[in-house]
Symmetry: C2
Subunit: 171 residues, 2 copies
Amino acid sequence: MTTRWLTPEEQRAWRAYIGAVLLVEDALDRQLQQEAGMPHMYYSILSTLSESPERRLRMTDLAERLKITRSRLTYAVTRLEKDGLVRREDCRWDKRGSVAALTDEGMRVLERAAPGHVETVRSLLFDRLSPEQVGQLEEIFTAVGEGFQGDSAHATADEVPWRRRSSKSCS
Amino acid sequence: MTTRWLTPEEQRAWRAYIGAVLLVEDALDRQLQQEAGMPHMYYSILSTLSESPERRLRMTDLAERLKITRSRLTYAVTRLEKDGLVRREDCRWDKRGSVAALTDEGMRVLERAAPGHVETVRSLLFDRLSPEQVGQLEEIFTAVGEGFQGDSAHATADEVPWRRRSSKSCS
DNA sequence: GGGGCTTGGTTCAAGTTTGAAACAAAACTA
DNA sequence: TAGTTTTGTTTCAAACTTGAACCAAGCCCC
């Protein structure tokens, strides 16, 4: 079949999207690098851990939530561990497993960084959008995200929920 | 002033956005790496050059359009030049200047990769959105992008249009 | 026309990401 | 239960990004 090129409307939307996303991510990274000495993804790791039961999560679960590869996560956690913000623990139930746990120091750093981060997110994004647009944003990206169920690089077809090991913390 | 935390709606939108954007970029990178042997940004460089007069652009102009640092662009162009897809030329009007020019080979590679890329963009994004949502997407990210006029890391306050050198190709 | 500031671009080191390969522990299976 | 496959994680090298430092050429202004 012959290529379905983008319509003018789609092209405008795509360009606006591509450009703005880049700027937002750069701004976020810069702000967090300044105020917390880490890129946005590392902040997200801390943040995700902080919201998990007992502030810990298995590596694979953490990677899945953040939508990054295990390899990338391993590197990041190693760095955060060096900084004393995260601690690696063995998983009691599965000797292969490794659990990342947020330390008290990590929690403090996170709490200190959070206000500035939220303020940045606001000023970059939400301050520029109407309430309706916020709703539209959610709907659009929820739809886009759903396109990755079962065909992502991180989840194979037979990886159905009831066959996965407990994704609760195995503390 | 006390932190204005995100409302539940904003939080949902933010999470959907963060997750989906990551997945989209990864998918784009993977697809292009497979079919064209380069990441998305490198494809964008070729694409931008192909649409410019005489298929060439000064480094700074190119960096500005792509919203990346000059440093990053220098690295990328060096690689693309090694692959024979881009050629660096001296700018006649400004001896400091360097011009990136798309080679015929670069044009061929771009044309070969374009259909698959567009198909991917479609399947990731536009196939999942209604026409209204495409319009909303454009409006949202146009608004977000406009937040970066004059305060980005790449443009300083006094960098007003009429003081900038011609941004046309100086071929 | 000789400072001194700005601009265009590259370089360098340090940090991060990628994908494939390596391993070890678990889970199947015959 | 031995053999095979799968799963959880790390390791490694190569690629990419970042930001600061650098250099050269234009610009300004006395």
